[in-house]
Amino acid sequence: MTDALLPSTRINLERATVLVLDDNGASLDILSQVVSGFGVKQLHRAESVADAQSLIRTKTFDLVISDVQMPVTDGIEFIEWLRKEGGETNRYIPVILVTGHTRTSQVYKLRDAGANYVVAKPITPKVLLERIFWVAREERAFIECEAYIGPDRRFKHEGPPPGTDGRRKDDLPAEVGEAQTPNMTDDEIANMMRPAKVQV
């Protein structure tokens, strides 16, 4: 689990190269202002997936922030392309998708696109910075197979769905087994909860 972003947390995005993609000029301006405000100096803007693909082919990025709803080719298709054909330097970079509304037909596509995070529009600087911090600090494994390329979608490790055995070798059953040691006494539990001074 990653640490939360605190107001006093120091972040340095001066040397990060970021691509922002949105077909709506007003929205792209807002996104760009937010990212620039975070201290990003190398900011590249694209108003279409075709423009974004050209940039991906010629530059190395550290983060992509893309809109979902776009005419012709949408953000989901762009991320799928990026994960498959984005070149070795860009294929695995963190991706944050932003969307104001998700179509019924796109719910599963959005989940399977290969993005690290989906943020709801209208975006606010606080939420976007929290998500950037999160994707920078997360330790999720990357999955690459025929049907999916992207961060591991099962990262909470809550076990397999009830009533199933799970598909992973390390899946544990949901049922809790018999206790292996005696229960703790009330005093032992109270001692664990008692506030104590510590030397740092």
Binding site: P7, D29, G37, H101, S105, L128, A136
Partner: protein
């Protein structure tokens, strides 16, 4: 199925921890100032979008039967894009409801013009006086729009 599981190098992780930089609270404040500088142009874009929706999908639009569901959906999305500037009026939430309606029409393959007209009237009203309406009246209006746009989705009601 052949599945490869690995941990690629995350350059962003290295960069964000480097010496220097700014406090998160200062970064957020700078970003908010930057966004605020776009208020006027964003509201102009919002009004242009509302006018375009009216022109193409309003009651008097002669060619609205020939329009696509996608076109209305994308125009609704554009309002949400700049919705932070009008969140006190309810326009942003009405636009979300309009997108739900356009998506629902696309799913069923049929326009629900009465519902579209209700949304367009509400968007106009909210844009002009939404911020000064009593909160309960504004919420009641938005709840009504939600019910209309989710009319064909009883499982979500």
């Amino acid at each position: 199925m052949n599945v490869r599981k690995f941990r690629p190098n995350n350059r962003l992780s290295t960069l964000i921890k480097q010496k220097g930089g700014v406090l998160a609270q200062d970064a957020i404040a700078a970003a908010e100032r930057g966004v605020e500088s776009l208020r006027e142009s964003s509201l102009a874009a919002l009004d242009q979008t509302l006018a375009e929706i009216d022109r193409r999908f309003g009651k008097d639009a002669l060619g609205r039967q020939a329009e696509t569901f996608d076109a209305l959906y994308l125009l609704g999305s554009r309002i949400i894009d700049v919705g932070a500037f009008v969140s006190d009026s309810g326009v942003d939430k009405a636009a979300v409801s309009l997108c739900t309606l356009a998506d629902d029409c696309a799913e069923t393959g049929a326009w629900r013009w009465d519902a579209v007209d209700v949304h367009l009237n509400a968007l106009r009203l909210l844009r002009s006086v939404g911020a000064s309406l009593p909160a309960d009246q504004r919420e009641a209006m938005l709840e009504g729009l939600y019910q209309v746009s989710h009319f064909h989705r009883p499982e979500e009601a």
